[in-house]
């Protein structure tokens, strides 16, 4: 008998391949049951959504987040985590047991445990969900919240998903021995760690840093479901999300502005960088070319605060302002233009500032691509009688196209991260066109004494979800265009 991994002839009754360490007759562990995993994630999210909801007051809601004995929530989470672990370990049938245990914890909590009804921070009364549904409270009536429906969907998916292997439809038979797909050998993980211990030790500070500063703060996203002023947050269901989507015009305005400013900026910056690259590529004098490159790269290294101050001085709306005094002298305008204070001019000024700052830096990739185009192509085209324009159209631009798309896609994933440049250049009068989601969250949080961190978190969470969708979308596009993802 031969080893399935390395084709070595195996001794009789061998349990492990003596060469590569692969277990003989090891059963295929099967694919990860993705639907079941999604079900568990949905059940986890459902634990924060309202189980019971006041029919007239959105913030009067009950979930695990305001159960009087939080231990039940922890038990629920534990059961979900156990299910996830079992799924990852391919002990699918066992995961059903822990998933059902989670469902049982949910049902018992719903039926048999007390929940807190907060009238204000630190002031609550105890209620039973079944009583609320059957009898209401005073004049208020209550109904089953959509958290229960989502929970049911999650649990059903987690159980049923165990029997559905969707991954097999997406997996290709690579017809290559798995051993050659990575540099790993069929040794235990501990042996590998010990072998590469130096790298792992070096990696420890990075892991700690990432966990502390990237993942730990993410846990705060649960506050999106709570009212959080000063201290002691309490559960208010999906109130913030409803408010955000239905009655907060500033939110939608800032969402629109974020997309508009980011996408136009991206198109203009990329376009300007391509044009400048093409022009620079035509310069024959190396000294002059390098000087120009240095000059146009420099603004990239300047802080937005400095750039805003410089432009404020240059574009001062008084007659002594540099640009306005010239425009007045030349008779172009009768009145000084308020570039940074007038909604009509702010966006244009913002785009110009962005082009000035980042175009130079953006040319690096395009210049690298241009320098890689074979001169033979140009020579052949010249012989064929192609003029400069034709050569640009039929050689240079097609060669650049892939890079342009790549740059565009890579930057598209970052469109939601617009803050500093807007924050330092906008003025109270231009809020209508200049406020973006990040500045909106900032102003909601820091410009008032009674900021509700819960609401700001909800807006931030929405922004992150949109950002995540963009990143995943761009990753997909990137794979399509250049054969690999954006990371």
């Amino acid at each position: 008998m031969q080893c399935k991994s390395c084709n070595t002839e195996l001794p009789k009754k061998a349990k492990v391949c003596p060469k590569c360490g692969k277990i003989v007759n090891e059963k295929s562990s099967g694919n990860l049951k993705v639907i079941a995993v999604f079900g568990l994630v949905i059940a986890m999210i459902a634990s924060m959504l309202p189980f019971v909801q006041n029919t007239s007051e959105i913030k009067d809601a009950y979930s695990f987040m305001n159960i009087d004995m939080p231990i039940m929530w922890y038990l629920f989470i534990l059961a979900i985590v156990v299910s996830a672990c079992l799924l990852v370990a391919r002990k699918d049938m066992l995961s059903i047991i822990s998933t059902l245990a989670a469902a049982a914890v949910f049902v018992v909590s719903f039926v048999g445990f007390d929940f807190r009804h907060y009238s204000k921070r630190n002031k609550f009364t105890i209620v039973r969900l079944m009583d609320l549904i059957q009898n209401g409270s005073g004049e208020d009536s209550y109904a089953i919240g959509f958290g229960v429906i989502v929970m049911a969907i999650g649990i059903i998916m987690a159980v049923a998903g165990v029997f559905i292997d969707v991954m097999k439809y997406f997996k290709k038979d690579l017809k290559v021995d798995a051993r050659y797909l990575s540099n790993s050998i069929n040794k235990s993980i501990w042996t590998k760690i010990w072998y590469h211990k130096g790298f792992y030790i070096m990696f420890v500070p990075v892991v700690i840093f990432i966990v502390l500063f990237y993942y730990w703060p993410m846990l705060g996203c649960r506050y999106a479901f709570s009212q959080f002023r000063i201290a002691d947050p309490f559960y208010v269901g999906v109130k913030h999300f409803v408010q955000m989507f239905t009655s907060d015009m500033f939110f939608w305005n800032s969402f629109r502005n974020t997309l508009f400013l980011s996408i136009i900026k991206l198109v203009l910056n990329t376009g300007a960088a391509v044009i400048i690259s093409l022009l620079l590529h035509e310069i024959v004098n190396i000294w002059f070319k390098k000087t120009v490159q240095t000059i146009i790269y420099l603004p990239h290294f300047m802080s937005w605060v400095v750039i805003a101050s410089v432009f404020r001085m240059i574009l001062d709306p008084n007659p002594s302002g540099v640009v306005n005094s010239l425009l007045l002298q030349w008779g172009v305008v009768d009145e000084p233009i308020m570039f940074l204070s007038d909604v009509k001019y702010w966006q244009g000024t913002f785009f110009v500032m962005n082009i000035w700052k980042d175009t130079g830096w953006g040319t690096i990739l395009f210049l690298a691509t241009l320098s890689g185009i074979s001169p033979d192509l140009y020579e052949a085209a010249q012989i064929d009688g192609a003029n400069r324009w034709k050569r640009l159209l039929y050689i240079t631009l097609p060669a650049l196209a892939n890079t342009i798309i790549t740059v565009f896609i890579l930057n598209l994933a970052k469109v939601m991260n617009l803050f500093e440049s807007v924050f330092v250049t906008s003025t109270p009068g231009t809020i209508e066109v200049s406020e973006v989601l990040q500045t909106y969250v900032y102003s909601k949080t820091f410009s008032t004494s009674m900021s509700d961190y819960g609401y700001s978190t909800a807006v931030g969470l929405f922004k992150s979800i949109v950002g995540m969708i963009l990143v995943l979308g761009c990753n997909y596009l990137s794979k399509k265009v250049r054969g690999r993802g954006i990371v």
């Binding site: 922890y74 534990l78 979900i80 990852v88 002031k123 809020i431 004494s449 509700d452």
Partner: protein
């Protein structure tokens, strides 16, 4: 087996940690404390302060030690360990909120009026009304006239709407008055003495501005830090233009809360500002300017960017503005003068507004609030060494009364000033932070203290300009009225104020009229305003 263990361990550990942490955070503390009515001397007091107390870089540690030494001698025997925490000034209130969220809450915290109303409305502060009534400071009879007005503004609502005193201000809140440059007046053919001590009408005031504009090379006469201030009292940087218009909600004559911004007075005010910008009186580029931008325009040596009028803090700032102008030469060769005329409020304005002073509050987390009040807060204005320390800093570090001579460090290549003092003569010492300057005060601005020190030796060291201006302001100001905090106000104030500021800018820059602006304001945030008014008038 190996793979199973590997995956199970890795995923299990990670997910359990993460999910477990998600579920954390439900711990509640009982804020009610009782020490049995006996006032004992606290062993430790945790204090959260901003940069209005001498900073560590400016000998703050010495001040803490000095204060601890003085407090040791007060009442029962025993030392009080003062643990001062000073977050960065610009993010002070974020740090205060973060501290209240944590487990290590302070015993004492310094809060501005907005935050004071907020924290008391959320039952985070200890009710010191009774302690104040029985305090040594109140009984001392040394409180200045008007102290009652200052302290009565500190009676605010708790979460149930009951009014009580949750904090104590040892000094007045101060406010802004309008300073006019004498040399600009003279250039405009106006004798400075003719406007001193005279309450002009707006027409007279505006006429003066026009004459100053005509006589100057500058683009404007007034360059405020924005068309509206970011904090209460909001209209204080352009008081002559806003006059009695109210930026936010206030209680009208009938005792009902109304939205001042929607009223005719605000429409008129906005139109006045718009006209001022159009006439080149107010800086067009003021939108979004900071206070330092505005100060720099006032100090500017460039005749095209210099401002001639500045509405800014009274008291010590009168002296600082003068010092920063005296001896400077403009780029056109003319000398600048630090002679400033602090004009009376115009008749339409009536009085300048004095802001509500920041308050020292004891938190509900404090285990011995009576003790902290008695030994920390009630001693701030004791009329002796402790008040001296709060006004002037630590003896030997920030001030002294021994015979000595010293020379300040020179600046800009010039030699620093030399000083010589006799024994027993109070004098400030060079600032540890900036040895080119003398220390001028600690937390309590001496002319603003709510109680004077009998025969205050430091009084002589105050400049005549600062003293006179503080007295002048005291005569022509009225106290700001605090706005109670409601949940609806807190939730909507950021959006409402944002819209108000947008409208102010649009009208000021001539993009719409006052009436159009207010109509837009009502149509966009009218619902939110109604919601807030409903909560205020509940």
């Amino acid at each position: 087996m190996k793979k199973t263990v590997k995956k199970l361990t890795a995923v299990g550990l990670t997910l359990t940690t993460v999910m477990g942490l998600v579920a954390c955070g439900g711990k509640k503390e009982d804020p009610t404390k009782d020490n049995g009515g006996v006032v004992t001397k606290p062993k430790t007091i945790k204090v959260l302060v901003d940069n209005t107390v001498l900073a560590e870089t400016n000998g703050g540690e010495k001040f803490y030690e000095y204060l601890e030494g003085l407090l040791e001698k007060v009442g029962d025997e025993g030392k009080i360990d003062l643990e001062f925490t000073r977050p960065p000034h610009s993010s002070y209130y974020d740090s205060v909120a973060a501290t209240f969220n944590g487990t290590n809450k302070p015993d004492v915290v310094l809060l501005s009026s907005d935050y004071y109303a907020l924290y008391s409305a959320n039952d985070m502060l200890w009710d010191m009304s009774e302690a104040w009534e029985n305090s040594e400071t109140k009984k001392s009879g040394r409180l200045i006239d008007g102290a009652d007005k200052v302290l009565s503004a500190l009676y605010v609502n708790d979460s149930d709407g009951n009014k009580a005193m949750y904090g104590f201000s040892p000094y007045r809140g101060n406010g802004c008055c309008t300073y006019v440059k004498s040399d600009w007046l003279k250039n405009a053919g106006i004798e400075p003495s003719s406007i001193q001590n005279k309450a002009m009408s707006f027409a007279e005031f505006y006429d003066m501005l026009k004459k100053m504009k005509a006589a100057s090379k500058s683009d404007y006469v007034v360059s405020p830090p924005g068309f509206i201030s970011a904090e209460a009292p909001y209209t204080n940087y352009l008081p002559e233009f806003y006059q009695k218009a109210q930026y936010t909600f206030y209680k009208d004559a009938s005792g009902k809360y109304v939205d001042g911004f929607s009223e005719q007075a605000m429409i008129d005010a906005l139109d006045r500002i718009s006209q001022g910008v159009k006439d080149g009186i107010i800086n067009k580029g003021a939108d979004g300017n900071s206070t330092s931008d505005a100060r720099n325009r006032f100090y500017s040596t460039d005749p095209s960017t210099e401002s001639g009028i500045f509405t800014y803090w009274a008291g010590n700032w009168a002296n600082t503005l003068k010092k920063n102008l005296d001896g400077k030469t403009r780029t056109d060769g003319t000398a600048m003068s630090g002679d400033l005329v602090a004009i009376n409020p115009i008749t339409e304005l009536g009085t300048y507004v004095e802001r509500i002073a920041p308050a020292w509050c004891i938190t509900t987390a404090c285990e011995n609030p009576q003790g902290v009040f008695k030994y920390f807060i009630d001693t701030m204005l004791n009329g002796g060494d402790i008040q001296m320390a709060w006004q002037y800093g630590a003896k030997g570090t920030h001030w002294d009364d021994k015979a000595e001579s010293f020379t300040l460090k020179g600046k800009d290549g010039k030699e620093g000033a030399s000083y010589s003092y006799k024994d027993g003569e109070f004098h400030f010492l060079p600032s540890p932070e900036d040895p080119t300057k003398l220390i001028s005060k600690n937390h309590i601005d001496p002319p603003l203290a709510l109680a004077e020190i009998p025969n205050d030796p430091g009084k002589a060291s105050l400049t005549e300009v600062a003293k006179k201006n503080a007295e002048f302001f005291s005569d022509v100001c009225s106290m700001a009225v605090p706005l109670p905090m409601t949940e609806e106000l807190g939730a909507n104030s950021a959006d409402i104020n944002k819209k108000r500021n947008e409208i102010i800018s649009k009208v000021a820059l001539g993009q719409c009229t006052g009436a159009e602006g207010i109509a837009e304001y009502k149509s966009s945030v009218g619902k939110l305003v109604d919601e807030v008014l409903k909560s205020l008038n509940k």
